[in-house]
Amino acid sequence: MSIDADAVNSRILNTDTHTTKTRIIIGIAEIAVSSDTLQTLATGSLGSCLGIAVYDPIVKAGGIAHILLPNSKTAPHAARTNPAVFVDTGMTALLNAVLSLNAQRHRLLLYFAGGAVIPGTHADFNIGGHNTDAVNGWLRQNGLRPQSQHTGGIESCSIQLRLNTGEVRVKIPGRESDIRLCRGSTIT
């Protein structure tokens, strides 16, 4: 598949160089990566989408992709300009972007959340389930394993990654406390 590099770069934000903000919100089909330890990366509400976080604790670099759909084969033209729409192309783009910040593949810690499911619906509408299956399949194929995940359910959530510690939290509206996928480390 040929990739439109300029269009792709406009959807992948390296927040080290682009902003002085400390909280970066990642919209649908966007990727943000950073090694600025003052920053927290966070998705908006995910619904059936997935928020996938990766982090290298040694160089304290990480990123999040906010992914809409399971497979780029359904619309390859859309993946060419916007890889983070799909699990397969989005994962490749996310890992490449984080590795470009001196992260090492063997050190990457991986977490994901989202994939909410509408109860009792037609199989076509189980997009959350398809997304979760797709990311698990992609990780297996590429010899990677998630540290932890919070997927499914009927509640929309969001995921956030703090770059100074690698702490990963899942927020669910209406719940008093967050779900912690990773406590993070303050060791420097």
Binding site: S45, D124, F125, I127
Partner: protein
């Protein structure tokens, strides 16, 4: 019916009525629609004219030369897009405020409503449903939440518990606790504002389209659009995933060839429009 009116009459914060929308829809549906009449109706409201021209000249629509008046906007864009801009400007005032009773943040209901309108238009195109009616019904489908929000402030925990314990959808649980649901209230409110019967019925039955009597297809179109926007994370409020009616909507719209994934992608691609309308409405 009396119970619906009781809630509407008891509400302390009635949303402003978008009076121009039913009048415009009526004009647009006439075979011999007179453009002067339509332009005059919009121009009558200076704030609306200003809002529509600002959107019309925004970067999204990419006008090389800005339109100076509504007539020029209509000539350049056509009636359908201008109608949608009018609907967006009117709807923004009504739908942007927070609705604490449903834990809906400022702008959240508005963003969900515009995305639903955009998706409804995509389905309408495929299923030979009137696109203006689908867009407007999508935009206004949750308007009943504005009325019910203040009553929900005390009842939300009970509604959520009922949904969880009795395995009911959110609207069913609303009805069990309050005696009415937001879809019925919305339909009744729009009837009072003299919206066309298609829109009233589609809003009233956007969680149970097979209960609609004459306009099942439009109700099913709104039900599916609502689901798609929830899947995209553009939902609103707590427990927004616990809706119903998807199976029956697919059965009613059997002519719709698009899969949910295609609809999500199509709506995503129009999100820029959603974002433009969303931002302008909050100004």
């Amino acid at each position: 019916m009396q119970r619906l009116d009781d809630y509407i009459n008891a509400a302390r914060h009635l949303p402003p009525a978008p009076h121009i929308l039913p009048q415009l829809l009526e004009l647009l549906e006439k075979e011999d629609a007179d453009s002067d009449e339509i332009v005059e109706l919009i121009t009558y409201d200076p704030a609306l004219t200003f809002g529509v021209l600002r959107l019309c000249n925004s970067a999204y629509l990419g006008a090389a030369l800005p339109a100076c008046d509504i007539q020029e906007a209509v000539t350049r864009l056509g009636f359908k897009p201008v109608f949608q801009l009018v609907a967006a400007v009117c709807g923004g005032k009504t739908l942007a405020p927070p609705q604490e009773g449903y834990s809906i943040e400022p702008g959240e209901l508005w963003r969900h409503s515009v995305a639903t309108a955009v998706c409804a238009q995509l389905i309408a195109k495929e299923c030979h449903i009137n696109e203006n009616l689908a867009f407007t019904a999508g935009l206004l489908h949750d308007i009943g939440k504005i009325i019910l929000s203040e009553f929900m402030e005390a009842s939300l925990p009970e509604v959520l518990n009922t949904a969880k314990n009795s395995r009911l959808s959110f609207p069913e649980s609303e009805k069990a606790v309050l005696g009415v649901d937001h879809a019925e209230i919305g339909g009744r409110l729009l009837a009072g504002w003299r919206f066309p019967p298609e829109i009233i019925e589609a809003v009233e039955h956007h969680h149970n389209p097979s209960a609609a009597i004459e306009h099942k297809k439009l109700a099913a179109c709104i039900c599916l659009s609502n689901t798609i926007t929830h899947c995209m994370g553009l939902g609103c409020g707590l427990h927004a995933f616990a809706t119903g009616g998807q199976e029956e909507s697919i059965a009613i719209l059997k002519t719709c060839p698009d899969t949910p994934q295609t609809l999500m992608l199509g709506t995503f691609r129009k999100l820029e429009l959603v974002e433009t309308l969303f931002t302008q409405a909050l100004r």
